[in-house]
Amino acid sequence: MAKPDDVIRVPFLMKMEYRYALGAYASRFFQELKDHGRLIGIRCPECQRVYIPPRPVCGICFAETGDWVPVSNEGVLVGATVVRLPFIDPMTGERRPVPYGMGIIRLDGASTAMYHFVDETDDAKLKVGRRVKARIRANRQGNMRDIECFELVD
């Protein structure tokens, strides 16, 4: 039997490509974002929650969602952090440069929040309760990266 120090480890690199179908609701959201740079949510007719990501059913009421409603590209930080731990970017496989800011953002007019980058790496400034605004890219592809990041609003 091999001693612990003698055992062999075999390196293996797996690269796989995926293409995720968005479905009807997300497609409409990203089409609106791509074509007009606007954010939209969908309202539950029973509890009146406005959902982003939009979805066909409100999980809480189990009711079919109804009207599409415009949502502001400004909102408030519900959570915030500056990430300092080196981390592999899942979209590129490359190490993401640190530090970078992140937030849980509740957009004005939405009941839910979203996780996104915030262009701030000062822990003292990146605080819960601060107002933020989406920085929408000029050249849009129809995905979450069309929102480049959020920036603090004074």
Binding site: T81, V82, M102, I104, M144
Partner: protein, 387 residues
Amino acid sequence: MPKKVAIIGTGQTKHTARRTDVNIRELVNEAVTRALSDADVRLEEIDAIMIGNMEPFEGFMFPEHWSVEGWGGYLKPSVKFNTGGTVGTTTIAASYYYIAAGIYDTVLAIGFEKQSDGHTQTAITTVGDPVWERTMMAGAVGNFALMASTFIAEGGVTDEHAAKVAVKARHNGARNVNAHLQMPELKVDDVMKSELLSWPVRKLDMCPQSDGAVAVVLTADHLAKKRCPRPAWIRAVTTAHEQQYMGDSPKRLAVMRSQMVASRRLYKVVGITNPRKELDVAEIYEVASWAELAMYQNLGFCEPGEAGKLIDEGVTLMGGELPVNPSGGVLCTNPIGATAMIRVAEAALQVMGKAGAHQVPNVKTALATGYGGNAWTDAMILTASTN
């Protein structure tokens, strides 16, 4: 009437960062052999096997098929589970349901993970919805930091409270022979000066990445009384799922709806009105010091905003009114596919009086929880008596 179900034996590996001396089959076999020996049950007496694991960490489908000879599954009825971080408790819950329903008498439940074979933070990213969330994912640490920031914003908890939880875990773990991290000398100041990974989370606030396996033998009441002088009876089991996206429940640490609902459901079944007084011990799935503080209030051990006070007063320390994670918990040991089942095994050890140097005296009622996916909760209550 469902049959009564008891745990009559458990087995764990010595959890550690890298078990490069064994492969998965060999690792799982260690835990299974120990559990069968602890329960004094032969493999022929096991009617079915439930096995849990989170395969993105190892990077291949069906690690349980590949390792079947190591866990005794050859030609036996068996089912594989993967519910993320909760998989260990889900696997126990399924084992419980099979026995309670009268389908099998004796079931072996297994959980395992060999984190060192893969890349943990990258694999965790696949938990996020690829279209909406994965682009911005920052592994377990960044996400927990965001969640912790929402909890801090509610008030009542500080870095020092979190550091005290981290110290408690490592001191407890030092008395548990199977715990991965053994840090009997750790001080609060050491935690508060450890590397800042992502505010407010420091290196010593987080759980480690571990290689490990656990196995538990469960059986129906007519056999349990014959096989074990003091079995741990599973008195109540439940699960609760949150909404799908992380932003659907923005204060998801301060207000963990799935944990609040699941724990209250259990307390009602066994007639607990004051969990802090009526539970003798809790083994909870706290992936970070901050999470444990939030769970104190979500599980009803204290009122919202009073979690810091609970650790300040030593309520959850060994020797306190309600010791939390005498094993050292997830903060000492985290082989993810095994982690939630380790909570159940450790709760069972406490009830059976077999926890050795980390035994809480005279445990009659224990809570075990699993936590995973996007704030999903499994929970169960184990007791020394059947009623």
